[in-house]
């Protein structure tokens, strides 16, 4: 049983590293957007479109990293479109987000047709676990560079929100548009840029899905991961560092179902497969109950208006 426990723990570690990256990028992008006072629910669309564009560009150009960049670009465009539409008077950002989600996935399905069959060059992993001599652990520690990019980005965002002028401007627009206006800051411009940049990050998350893990493009690829990542932002209380932990936890919980079956605990796999969602619900209920957490919500978000 000890051996089996180790297997499950290694699988959860591996799952956390493999599965978390797209959640991380989408959640960081959404954090940036929401910090500026706007909600973009459409990041699922950016994720799927990013996955398609990354796969297509990687296949056509032969360079996977070019695909990643193109995916970011496609996300940027979708984000910018969302940002622009929401700038117009009496437009609800949540409704636009839902429209953008359908638009992004529809666009990806439409143009992605010819790319389901071919195999595109994929991103390489850095083998960090070869020294352990344990094949399962070595496999779990195959880490894609984007994982580290995501962590570095989260640390940078955490620092930038507190310590840079740009960070302060984003937070101010998110907390009180009136004060921002009084300071001479263009609220619309800040939100437009924050939404576009958030869209860029979500696109990168999509590239990870199609170019690394699971590593192929098809229409069921995301199955709602972009939506879950938006929920993770609330769960992480708009804190970039907590976004990382939330994504890791979600990835690890997702590995629980398959790995328990692999060691012979096969009863109740539907329940274990639902573990990530159950866990999210429980933590949300606990964290939302505290008074302190209410302070983290950017004041301009339309859910609080």
């Amino acid at each position: 049983m000890d051996n089996a426990l180790v297997t499950v723990l290694i699988a959860m570690l591996g799952g956390a590293i493999r599965v978390s990256t797209p959640f991380m990028f989408v959640a960081l992008g959404e954090t940036l957007t929401e910090k500026s006072g706007r909600i973009n629910l459409g990041l699922e669309g950016n994720l799927v479109l990013g996955a398609m564009v990354a796969y297509a560009v990687s296949y056509l150009s032969g360079n996977a990293w070019l695909g990643v960049l193109a995916a970011g670009g496609s996300g940027l465009c979708l984000g910018a479109l969302h940002g622009y539409i929401c700038k117009l008077p009496r437009v609800n950002d949540i409704a636009v987000g839902i429209a953008m989600m359908s638009f992004g996935t529809g666009l990806a399905f439409f143009f992605g047709k010819p790319f389901i069959q071919p195999s595109a060059p994929r991103l390489d992993a850095i083998p960090l676990g070869d020294w352990t001599g344990n094949p399962a652990l070595a496999q779990a520690l195959q880490v894609n560079p984007l994982f580290f990019v995501g962590i570095a980005l989260a640390v940078f965002m955490f620092w930038a929100f507190r310590n840079t002028r740009w960070g302060l401007i984003v937070r101010m627009t998110g907390d009180s548009a009136a004060s921002a206006k009084a300071m001479g800051v263009s609220v619309d411009l800040v939100r437009f840029l924050a939404t576009a940049a958030g869209g860029f990050l979500a696109g990168i998350g999509g590239a990870f899905l199609s170019l690394y893990y699971p590593g192929s493009w098809n229409q069921g690829l995301s199955s709602g991961q972009g939506l879950m990542a938006v929920a993770l932002v609330i769960f992480a209380r708009w804190d970039p560092i907590k976004c990382i932990f939330a994504a890791l936890l979600f990835g690890a919980a997702g590995a629980l179902g398959p790995s328990l079956q692999s060691i012979g605990i096969s009863q109740g796999y539907y329940f274990f497969n639902a573990a990530p969602y159950i866990l999210t619900l429980i933590i949300m209920i606990i964290s939302a109950g505290s008074k302190a957490s209410a302070r983290d919500v950017p004041g301009e978000l339309s859910i609080t208006k």
């Binding site: 297997t7 290694i10 699988a11 591996g14 799952g15 493999r18 599965v19 399905f109 047709k113 389901i116 069959q117 195999s119 094949p135 399962a136 496999q139 899905l209 893990y213 699971p214 590593g215 192929s216 098809n218 229409q219 069921g220 690829l221 199955s223 991961q225 997702g254 590995a255 179902g257 398959p258 790995s259 079956q261 692999s262 060691i263 012979g264 096969s266 009863q267 109740g268 796999y269 539907y270 497969n273």
Partner: protein, 367 residues
């Protein structure tokens, strides 16, 4: 293209003008009726899986004289499929509708069959009921588990006998494929085992990749699967350096190093026979099941992962199945120790359609 569509529409008008027109093909000795075959897929037709298997088969029919094919992909199992089928009938003049996804049948195919009694509807799952459903509807379904049995034979001799199986849902046809892989492997290697992980959904790429990794970590040497699109499973297993056996369509190009063979449908046998019947003015059979014995299955050509002994044994197993050799031979116990197979069952015995057990030697649970 437009011209033929117009002429077909005009034909339909003529048909609608006189109700007796529906009996025309039977009453008058006509040499040939043109077949317009409308087929709906639930997903993209190049998914390396279920939909691709159908699409490849209709593709081969397009070259035949007197057959026109109308296709629509990504049709959800909702009202949308009724609209797709209806437009194929009214705009394209389809006289044979093939609905290829499980959820299309009730109520969509059943209702439409009542509304268009002149059109032949056939659905790819054994759901047609002689007593309740319209006579112009029907079912066809090859028993893929026979080809999975061959997968098992080849996998058992191409490895040490530890086989991993990524399965979608614990329904009888999936369970039968798992059990058949085990029985095939055990027929050549008495110590063979099959370890199964259920993902719970027909298409969930991330969890399928996780399940494949977990099986490889658990020591499986061959990975096979029953999910809608096996691409992710086969590619992930190939990336981990283990051998693979396919499902539904040919996945051989995805695994140049480790592919052994795969279980494939040969839908064209069925579709060709339907088209021939309609062209000759006959009603195609309402209920059509089969397997290796009537040319409805095939195994993917052997890949680099298959050893010479495996190829010989698998070819022998195919020959035996063509001759009708049973797969489930008593006495067999399930993995909880109950006797579930007490005698030799014919490969199409109705008892096997209600399978809700995994045999001893399969690690896994259906709940």
């Amino acid at each position: 293209m437009t011209l033929t569509a117009i002429s077909r529409r005009r034909l339909l008008k003529v048909g609608a003008a006189g109700l007796a027109a529906s009996a025309l093909p039977f009453g008058i000795a006509r040499a040939q009726t043109n077949v317009v075959l409308g087929i709906v897929y639930v997903g993209p037709k190049d998914d390396f899986g279920w939909n691709q298997a159908h699409a490849v088969s209709v593709e081969s029919l397009k070259a035949l004289p007197g057959i026109t094919v109308v296709e629509e992909e990504n049709v959800p199992e909702t009202d949308a499929v009724s609209k797709s089928m209806e437009s194929m009938i009214n705009l394209d003049g389809a006289n044979l509708i093939l609905a290829t996804s499980f959820g299309y049948y009730n109520p969509f195919v059943v209702e439409l069959a009542k509304k268009y009694p002149d059109v032949t509807f056939r659905h790819a799952a054994p759901l047609w009921n002689k007593d309740k459903d319209p006579a112009n509807a029907g079912s066809y379904f090859p028993y893929l588990n026979q080809a999975h049995y061959v997968n098992g034979v080849a996998a058992g001799l191409s490895s040490g006998g530890k086989i991993g199986f990524v399965a979608a849902k614990p329904i009888p046809s999936v369970l039968s494929n798992i059990n058949s892989v085990l029985l095939g492997a055990r027929s050549v290697n008495p110590n063979a085992t099959v370890q199964v992980i259920f993902t719970g959904e027909w298409s969930l790429p991330v969890r399928e990749a996780e399940a494949t990794n977990a099986l490889v970590d658990a020591g499986c040497e061959v990975i096979t699967c029953h999910v809608d699109s096996p691409k992710v499973v086969i590619e992930t297993a190939e990336g981990r350096g283990v051998k693979t056996a396919g499902h539904n369509a040919s996945q051989a190009p995805l695994a140049p190093k480790g592919f052994i063979t795969g279980a494939e449908y040969k839908w064209e046998t069925i579709y060709k026979s339907y088209a021939d019947d309609i062209a000759a003015g006959k009603t195609p059979p309402n209920f059509l099941v089969g397997g290796y014995n009537n040319d409805m299955l095939r195994n993917t050509p052997y890949g680099a992962g298959a050893t010479p002994e495996a190829i010989a044994a698998a070819d022998a197993a195919i020959a035996a199945l063509v001759a009708g050799a049973p797969i489930y031979k008593g006495t067999l116990k399930d993995n909880a120790g109950n006797v579930v197979v007490d005698k030799d069952y014919d490969n199409y015995d109705p008892y096997l359609d209600g399978m809700n057990w995994l045999l001893e030697g399969v690690q896994g649970s259906i709940t």
